[in-house]
């Protein structure tokens, strides 16, 4: 776009000023690349200041990321338990062995049932004696107080909370059954607890992200004001706002790129640290739990979020301040 016509004799000794649209398009990317590298060089010229902003960005993201890792692990544990729904069916004590045998067979053949386990009262008592710590006290009992128990494991399609509950009611109505129980309360409580933790962590993460945007925005604002004279001169010789803004946007971009990597490293260190204590903790319970770290996908998301926040912060600063600087 030119406002003034140029005389041909003014072009002597040099190429014409007009640049074709295709070339302009290509140059846009060449320019972008140059400015991207240029702003990276700018960062290396002020290493301390840049590093501090980048560290703030990275470490601010580390907390939500680590919390995310914890929540993710908690979810996978609760998901495991979710599928382990079992129904304990306590049989009436006055049944004959023949009747019990028939009932077992009948339940086993139900469509909703994956398999059944039968624990007769003697086996139940033996197990109770072994695990409860009341071993010798039980010997004083005259009769076995325990009923025979049928452990019913629902088929895959009937393991959800509602369906398992429907199966429970069906089983409870059987003549041979004295009572049946499906222990879901603790599962629901665990799920609710996980949700509370998730939500509070999400709120915390949102707060930290906002802080990151403001910090990056402020750093970029200072960078813009520092180069006020330069921006003025560039505007005088015909630079568009977009051209002037680009290096600052790239600065925000690089903050995000490096900040994201810092967030990975810090999260990994934190997870290893927490994991060592979890391994110790779970070994006391004779279990081998361990934390799942960041997956490749998670890392990519963290990186994109970091870059997004860096860009957004610088965009806010650039929008407000670059256009406000007018040549005097």
């Amino acid at each position: 776009m030119g406002f003034l016509s140029r005389k041909s004799d003014q072009r002597k000794g040099a190429k014409a000023v007009k640049i074709s649209a295709g070339r302009r398009f290509l140059m846009f990317f060449v320019n972008n690349f140059q400015q991207a590298i240029g702003s990276l060089g700018e960062l290396s010229r002020t290493p301390m200041a840049s590093l501090m902003t980048i560290a703030v960005l990275g470490l601010s993201l580390t907390l939500p990321t680590t919390l995310y890792v914890v929540v993710k692990n908690a979810q996978s544990i609760s998901a495991e338990w979710d599928n382990a729904a079992e129904i304990n069916v306590f049989l009436r004590k006055d049944l004959r062995p023949q009747e019990i045998q028939t009932f077992r067979e009948r339940v086993r053949l139900m469509a909703e049932v994956e398999r059944v386990e039968f624990i007769d009262k003697e086996a139940g008592l033996a197990e109770f004696r072994a695990n409860s710590g009341f071993g010798s006290a039980i010997d004083y009992l005259q009769t076995n107080p325990l009923p025979d128990v049928l452990v019913v494991i629902p088929a895959a399609d009937f393991q959800s909370v509602e369906r398992a509950r429907m199966l429970l009611t069906t089983l409870e109505q059987e003549r041979e059954v004295s009572s049946a129980s499906l222990d879901l309360k603790w599962l629901e409580r665990l799920q609710a607890l996980v949700r509370v933790i998730e939500n509070s962590f999400a709120a915390l993460g949102l707060l930290l992200c906002t802080a990151v945007v403001l910090i990056v925005g402020n750093t970029i604002r200072l960078a813009i004001l520092n180069r006020r004279d330069e921006i003025m001169i560039m505007k005088l010789v015909g630079a568009t706002d977009a051209y002037i803004q680009r290096p600052f946007l790239y600065t925000g971009f690089w903050y995000g790129v490096v900040g994201g990597i810092i967030a990975w490293l810090a999260t990994t260190i934190l997870v290893i640290w927490i994991d060592s204590s979890i391994v110790k903790f779970s070994s006391l319970y004779e279990s081998d739990m361990s934390l799942q770290g960041l997956s490749l996908n998670d890392m990519l998301v963290v990186w994109l979020v970091a870059i997004g926040l860096g860009l957004f912060g610088s965009w806010i600063a650039v929008r407000r301040h670059v256009s406000a600087i007018e040549p005097r």
Partner: protein, 233 residues
């Protein structure tokens, strides 16, 4: 090339810098703009480069009404106007080469593509071979010439100069003026604001005179040449 129609400019606070100014500068013409300090010379140039908007009236550049040019179009207008300032306005942390190449970079040239034109511009102002230096290593006159090289590097059809010789001794001033004259000879329109009346008299070109914001002489009556007349101020 430049036409002012009843242009007034009042700054916030009530100071009237220009009052109903009318004049016209033809394409390819070289004209001086003189007047006492505060007469409105800078304001007039700033209106042409759209660093200010007129309060009343219209400014036309090559037939384009500047009142109709919106904020987003201003950069493209400025690319067609070479501007030279008394304080040079150079980037002190960039080399002479990068300073001169700045308008070309903005238009999308790479460094290697800009080289030929930058060298041509620097040769023109007599600074060939100084590309690698920083402005701080140059004298005031040389810095001014870097500013001129930057203004002409993309061959704009219009040059505006605001006190280009303000800080220079008479010999250097004359050299700079001769430079402007050479641009005028290849068809560039040049408008130079200055208070160096001796120099203006010597150059024998049209002289527009401002006093207290009013144009008291558009230089046409005197046949494009305003003789040294201290009484006018």
């Amino acid at each position: 090339m430049i036409r002012f129609e009843q242009v007034s400019k009042t700054y916030p606070g009530g100071f009237q810098a220009l009052n109903r100014v009318n004049f016209q500068v033809a394409a390819g013409e070289l004209a001086f703009l003189t007047g006492h300090s505060g007469a409105g010379k800078s304001t007039l140039l700033r209106l042409v480069a759209l660093m200010e908007r007129p309060t009343l009236g219209r400014v036309l550049i090559n037939g384009h009404d500047l009142n109709k040019i919106n904020r987003r179009q201003i950069p493209y207008l400025r690319r067609d106007i070479g501007m030279i300032f008394q304080d040079h306005r150079l980037l002190m942390d960039k080399t002479v080469f990068d300073n001169v190449a700045l308008p070309l970079y903005i238009e999308g040239y790479t460094q290697s593509e800009a080289r030929k034109r930058v060298q041509a511009a620097l040769d023109k102002v007599g600074l060939g071979g100084q590309e690698r230096k920083y402005p701080i290593m140059l004298s005031g006159g040389e810095q001014q010439r870097v500013g001129i090289a930057r203004a002409i590097v993309n061959k704009p059809p219009l040059l505006l100069a605001d006190e280009p010789t303000g800080n220079l001794d008479p010999t250097l001033s004359l050299e700079i003026m001769n430079l402007f004259e050479s641009f005028h000879q290849v068809g560039v329109s040049v408008l130079i604001a200055t208070h160096d009346l001796a120099l203006v008299a010597r150059m024998r070109h049209r002289n527009l005179v401002l006093r207290n914001g009013a144009m008291i002489d558009d230089g046409l009556a005197s046949g494009g040449y305003e003789p040294l007349d201290e009484g006018a101020y």
